[in-house]
Symmetry: C2
Subunit: 475 residues, 2 copies
């Protein structure tokens, strides 16, 4: 074995150079001294990173790191206003280095004693912020919101079927469905598909003019399901929706679920983090009545991907779901084993998912995160005002969070939908900003998520100016 590869001094030397490369890169990104995304076609990227591995290797790692830095998408650039992915707190990258070297996964306790303890503490803290009784609540971290929603819906399935579906499998007739709004993230549908319910058995509930689920429509759907003998495994509320960040009326949904004994899950991947801010928390009123809540720390809590919390109001459900024994056993045994987390997740080994957020909360404090949330929401409100103030611009809806969807005035004679698509692609390719688009009310909208703490009003004004220039007749 060429043990040189494990030499601590080689690691130290390359480590210092890598830290410098990253610090320089961060400064350049913040100075807006590079395109947000150095665009190229997928095939070109593939040609730049081919599987041309040789027996002896020999590439210079620092050179490769520089290339990776140059050719990646720069979420640390303040003009990154695209997808719901955080520009992570830089020092979390150092924590990623720590967890990379330690490789303390979280499965059985002894493989990650610190990771296991931190995970439980984070879940306890989030439970109390959600408004759950921290003595009764509990849960797990998982690799992303899709896995989180699937985990919660597995618990819902286990709790909602009058037989042990985990051990027996489904009994016929398979008359199961899930209800969610027409604005729900696609992972809810995908979860139903994984579970074998079928995509068509996700009942899509209409939304109001602000893209929030209509409780009256949910009630009708529930009535109809009852009439047709369909069992509703869960109602999924969005907080907020993917396209616009709309927060469903959680209290009204909880009323309906409670009255009928139906599992109420809140997909708070994005805005569930509002629970951390006393000012923003009221928008989530009713979330404390959910059976399960998903919150992504890698969206609004400034963490790198992935760190998703799945929090159950009654921790028992978390044990029961993945129990390899029949569920009646869990009170006797599994309760005592909070520390063997693989009993409660899709994953066996997980990464040390808890390190970043735990340490960041200790170092920065909770007010720092609350302030970040409030600032992005305030910036979104300002941006919405600025859009409405410009003639010919359209705002899809007043933002409830930090996602703003709008249409810029099209060039004369150009179809407005085609215009939004064209200018979005143009801007992404020139790298001046990164924004995305979405479909709402059968029309195409530009969509921005204000998630990088260094994004300023001036950046957003520059974005509007650029869009306006693109809509002007060419002279």
């Amino acid at each position: 074995m060429e043990t040189q590869a494990y030499d601590p001094e080689d690691f130290r030397a390359l480590g210092h150079r890598t830290v410098d490369a990253l610090a320089d890169h961060l400064a350049a990104a913040q100075a807006r001294a590079m395109p947000v995304l150095p665009w190229r076609e997928p095939e070109a990227a593939l040609q730049a990173w081919p599987p041309d591995f040789t027996e002896r290797g020999g590439a210079d790692p620092l050179e490769l790191i520089h290339r990776v830095l140059g050719e990646s998408h720069h979420l640390q650039h303040p003009r990154y206003v695209g997808h719901q992915c955080a520009a992570p707190l830089p020092f979390t990258a150092l924590l990623a280095m720590v967890s990379g070297l330690l490789n303390n996964g979280t499965a059985v306790y002894e493989m990650g004693p610190v990771s296991t303890a931190m995970e439980r503490s984070l879940i306890q803290w989030l439970s109390s912020r959600i408004g759950f009784d921290p003595q009764a609540a509990g849960g797990v971290l998982t690799h992303g919101g899709s896995a989180g929603n699937l985990t919660a819906l597995l618990a819902a399935r286990q709790a909602s079927t009058p037989y042990d579906v985990w051990e027996e499998g489904y009994r016929a007739p398979l008359n199961l469905c899930i209800m969610a709004s027409d604005q729900t993230h696609y992972s809810v549908r995908r979860s139903a598909q994984v579970l074998g319910l079928g995509g068509r058995n996700v009942v899509s509930i209409p939304t109001d003019e602000r893209f929030r689920m209509r409780p009256d429509a949910l009630e009708s759907a529930l009535d109809e399901a009852e009439l047709r003998g369909r069992k509703v495994l869960a109602v999924v509320g969005s907080a907020g929706s993917t396209a616009t960040g709309a927060i469903d009326p959680l209290d009204a949904l909880a009323d309906l679920c409670e009255a009928r004994g139906i599992w109420f899950h809140v997909d708070g991947a994005h805005s569930g983090a509002f629970a951390v801010s006393d000012r923003l928390r009221p928008a989530l009123a009713g979330i404390e009545r959910a059976h399960s809540v998903v919150i992504d720390a890698h969206k609004m809590l400034m963490m790198p991907s992935l760190a998703t919390a799945v929090v159950f109001r009654d921790e028992g459900h978390s044990f029961e779901t993945f129990s390899q024994q029949a569920s009646y056993l869990f009170d006797r045994t599994a309760r005592q084993e909070w520390y063997n987390l693989a009993h409660r997740t899709l994953e066996c080994t997980k990464r040390f998912l808890s390190l970043d957020l735990y340490v960041a909360l200790k170092v920065r404090g909770t007010a720092f995160f609350a302030r970040h949330l409030e600032d992005t929401v305030d910036l979104a409100a300002w941006f919405a005002d600025a859009i409405e103030a410009r003639p010919g611009w359209e705002l899809a809806v007043r933002p409830e969070g930090n996602i703003v969807c709008f249409r810029a005035p099209a060039a004369p004679g150009e179809d407005p939908d085609a215009f939004q698509t064209r200018v979005r692609d143009l801007i992404v390719r020139e790298g001046s900003f990164h924004l995305v688009k979405t479909q709402l009310r059968r029309r195409t909208w530009l969509r921005t998520t204000l998630i990088n703490p260094l994004t300023t009003r001036e950046d957003l004004t520059a974005l509007m100016d650029r869009l306006e220039a693109l809509g002007k007749p060419q002279t």
Copy 2:
């Protein structure tokens, strides 16, 4: 916003100090100058890392990092011979820092152009090492082997049902089952449970004296399933099994599956990596006939958790599985979208999973990894000889890879099973080594995975000596 938290110079300063802390830690671990695991009870760990977050924070990040380093499990210690988790190549921790700062997830191409390209190249390379036609094969990386097996079995389900189960859900009667050996990793059973087949519908096929699935027993089980009208979604071969690393006779299993048109999945989480070594590759003969293969880079390829490859012999299955449209569409559209990987995984956003292995292969070369595999297998063979040479010691089976299971001679008058359990707990708690235990033939065995490249024969001799001393009457 307190933008100071994003200051590049603060990052640089703390980064250098963190690199030094890690380099020092690595050197101390390699020098065996610390317990492998600084044992304490779970409740004590929880008390050490409570959710005592304050509004203002103020903890010193470097102090917390030092504490995390001191209190974690030291897989970089050469006397770590426990679970199947790698002691990662140290410089991959630097790559984790890079990907942490960039936060380029892999979902849609534009969010991670380099990560997407590297992922495809890694899959292509693994495809050719497996023996698939790289033109036809393809797949994805995912967060761990459990997610990998679930992904493969989802593809098997989609391919094996004569209707669109993804969209429609299961049709009654739900007479579906999966077959795997009695040594299969529990994630296969868990996958069946997630899919709603029920744990009892995983048919457990008996193994031979070397813990390999018996093809004659599989054939009988297949016959019986046919007689009883049960549809076999997949046969899962292990390469190798969790307890002993046994590799099922893949060619014989492939024959049976081929003759009956059944999906053949190989869980190569551990030993699938043998494909990288020309010397070890023959042990996997037949793997190239599988429909799908899972390989964990974070087990035998020296990567930190998690990086699992799910490779399909026919890439079409990878597109088809998660298609949000009906499956007949995939040839027309999805083929062209190899670069939007969220269409093909459980996850939406993934981490930059490809970076570590891609860069490591470029820097170290493929021979380096082959050599690591061969060295650990050779060390295991030496260890097995050494165990057999000691009077009163028992070897469970000649190792086929780098997992060795054995029993040390019990103290006079002590039940041999109880002895293995007692000394295992004692050694783990004193931190002199880390090893685990397992059940085989209704008896308790000590179990070691030789996975840290710095583990020597002297370390293993010291382990045997320590165990022997514990079995001696106290004087």
